[in-house]
Symmetry: C2
Subunit: 502 residues, 2 copies
Amino acid sequence: MKTLKLRKVAIDTYKENVAYLHRNCPLYRSEGFQALNKIEITNGIDTTPVIAVLNIVDDEKIIATDELGLSEQTFSQFKGVENCTVHVNHATPPSSLRLVHKKIAGNRLGKNDFLNICEDIVNNRYSKIEITAFLVGCAEGGLERDEILYLTEAMVETGKILDWGEPMVVDKHCIGGIPGNRTTMLIVPIVAAHGMLMPKTSSRAITSPSGTADTMEVLAKVNLKQEDLGTIVQLQRGFIAWGGTANLAPVDDILISVERPLALDSKGQMIASILSKKIAAGATHLLIDIPVGPTAKVQTQHDALKLRKLFEYIGDQTNLELEVIITDGRQPIGNGIGPTLEARDVLQVLHNEPNAPVDLKEKSLQMAGRILEFDPDVRGGQGYYLARDLLESGRALKKMEDIIMLQGKHHTSFKTAQFQYQVLAPESGYVNSINNLQIAHIARMAGAPMDKNAGIDLHIKLNDKVNVNDALYTINAEFNADFQFAKTSAQKNSGYTIGGKQ
Amino acid sequence: MKTLKLRKVAIDTYKENVAYLHRNCPLYRSEGFQALNKIEITNGIDTTPVIAVLNIVDDEKIIATDELGLSEQTFSQFKGVENCTVHVNHATPPSSLRLVHKKIAGNRLGKNDFLNICEDIVNNRYSKIEITAFLVGCAEGGLERDEILYLTEAMVETGKILDWGEPMVVDKHCIGGIPGNRTTMLIVPIVAAHGMLMPKTSSRAITSPSGTADTMEVLAKVNLKQEDLGTIVQLQRGFIAWGGTANLAPVDDILISVERPLALDSKGQMIASILSKKIAAGATHLLIDIPVGPTAKVQTQHDALKLRKLFEYIGDQTNLELEVIITDGRQPIGNGIGPTLEARDVLQVLHNEPNAPVDLKEKSLQMAGRILEFDPDVRGGQGYYLARDLLESGRALKKMEDIIMLQGKHHTSFKTAQFQYQVLAPESGYVNSINNLQIAHIARMAGAPMDKNAGIDLHIKLNDKVNVNDALYTINAEFNADFQFAKTSAQKNSGYTIGGKQ
């Protein structure tokens, strides 16, 4: 066991622990350390080591020869201050890695196996390549449905679990990939106005033009403390906040940091990811929306059905009351795409304005209706009508205003973006298809979600009749460079195909 | 496309490309970059981008807000100088990644598929996690034998191929895992003394107490330029050099940098790795040694046979004349373990000293005999006797001395190591087993291969009779700390089991 002085290196290595050692450090050659080796670091008192991947440094300004550097995330896990003495050793592979080898060899793993793996992952004992090995072993039908169940449970158990102290806590989740699909911001006020508990945490956009948290942020603060959320939910029965800071199913975040760049098709992993987060967030009743369409995440009815069965199975085994609806994912929902434009759509529906987007309103009512029917007092089939009544009577709007006030209202002037460009129909005919991916891409190029006002405003939807030079949509941008990129991209491929009546 | 100023960051990230961006760099948020994203960097003239994984920096001493940093390896691939203007963009995944997804899904890949993947890997378009995905997809019987062939060919074709200008170039390879097994240093002088061409490149130890290159380095320089190797081989028909710098099957080195820490059991990958290196090194005739034993890499005769068939199949398809021998891998070969001690064994055999280790001599003669029989003029079955004659007549020694002289003789005084400790037999009986792994571990703890004189000297071998307190072996170390570690480890587990006659 050899000692060095601890130093924090101000490099953000995200979900991977990295340590830095100078090439002329006496330990480097004598210990046979090599770049990308895994080492374990202890403070000599605490018995649990921090594990990190080694990078070798040739610049004493970054790290001196008697120092060991830790990246920001790694430093924060280590019980020690700068300049304290640290002990460094070769790390032994995490003991659960043999289970990963078993999985790769095609064996079935049990409940405890998944728990061991998740415990090692959550304690940062896995490097990125070890996590990849686990994910690839689980990908493409590598998990049987019981294994998906075990993985879900293991991800829940290796994190915090929220308890709202009530027998019924409802939630919803959409499989995603549909721009503009801001049903959550209508469902929460409708359901909470009925008195059901819906503490909704949402995500920010990562690859999409806006996440629910980004859009809600146009209207209110979304970065709230757990204790404030508890107060809001007591008073209003619901909120719409960003879920990023709670330590719920933390293994999921680590797995996703590797899975996303790989674009792995791992159904089992996706189901475990969604359900573990919901269970950890304290949900007892969950509605899942699977949109199907050629440019949606799920492309065929057959795939959607298979997915539904798996969700139902895991739901039943974990005592989560779970319903799945399969919806039309052939085009964006609503007109606005990008935070401010989507918030505008939501307010139009809540205010029952005549020009409010009908598809957003109808989909939200259908989904809210299904959630309302979780209430034993609501008669089967009556949820939709109840939801419509809650919306059209203005009670949902009132509830939303109260929630916004408690979360912290943002005063938004829905002003026009700095730069605007209309994309025109190149010919007359009917809109035969709208490509969700291309529309999302153009909206992101225009600056969404970073620039709240940036995005796309759709004027024409699927199956609409258009004349040549009718405006299909307007691109909104705040900066000229972004504006030009988005314009060029739309000119190359508008995302719309126009043809005969279908 | 946005521009930044290029800076070299003196961090060694080994086989992974890493780029550094300051968190306050205007590009960071506006482009939606995130730590661990892959970006592509161009100089605006050259069309081929360099791909790197992004780390985010919070310290302007490491990287300023208008700069893009590249790690040492990445910088060396980039056509540009410090402070030049670079263009940065999100990297699209390498096009061959869809083939990796196909492989993971259980599909068979063709020759061109493996070539596409290897081309992307050799051009650093794969991140570590993408390489892991490929390896895991190929692991545990994931490759059929034709796929192993395609992968071998693709790894050869994506690197340099040496041509020695002769119809017969012989080589040997041992599957490894047996400490002390320095047959190469006897086979090369014997075979070269017969006049056959044997340009032998060897590896340094990575996890073992010594590689052939480490042991040869005790006697001569091993880090030689390709042109010098050409001269030596013309004059002496053979050499024993370090193979690390030639650009032979470079994909293999990249794959191994990921495979090793994962400890993946990937037979197909191992075969492709060995054969691609040999074919690229210009070998036409190859002898492969598969030692079998409970603590060897291959543990059963059955596994060894399966491996032999695969080697033979790929050899035949690639016009490599290939022979496989299955040998006794139940214990170390020779007495010395560690560079200097092994070099001493080799010299004892070459000098025909009476106390030379018999097992090392016999195994080397057997293997050299098989290689000599590749010569059409050598009668079948006579190779062993020819090899023995070449050794015992002193011609092999003369050849070795000539080779050492040309490579650059190192004047070694075979002096005793600073610290020595004898491990004694705890009881009387017969040696029932010797654990290769534990013996290798203790030798490494003692300082091998970094300290040339460190290691283990075996006095008693398998099936030998011992009395209580007889010395089983002596630990040699140059530094007290290493010495204590090795001693403690040997006291805990000597690696020897002693029992009744078997």
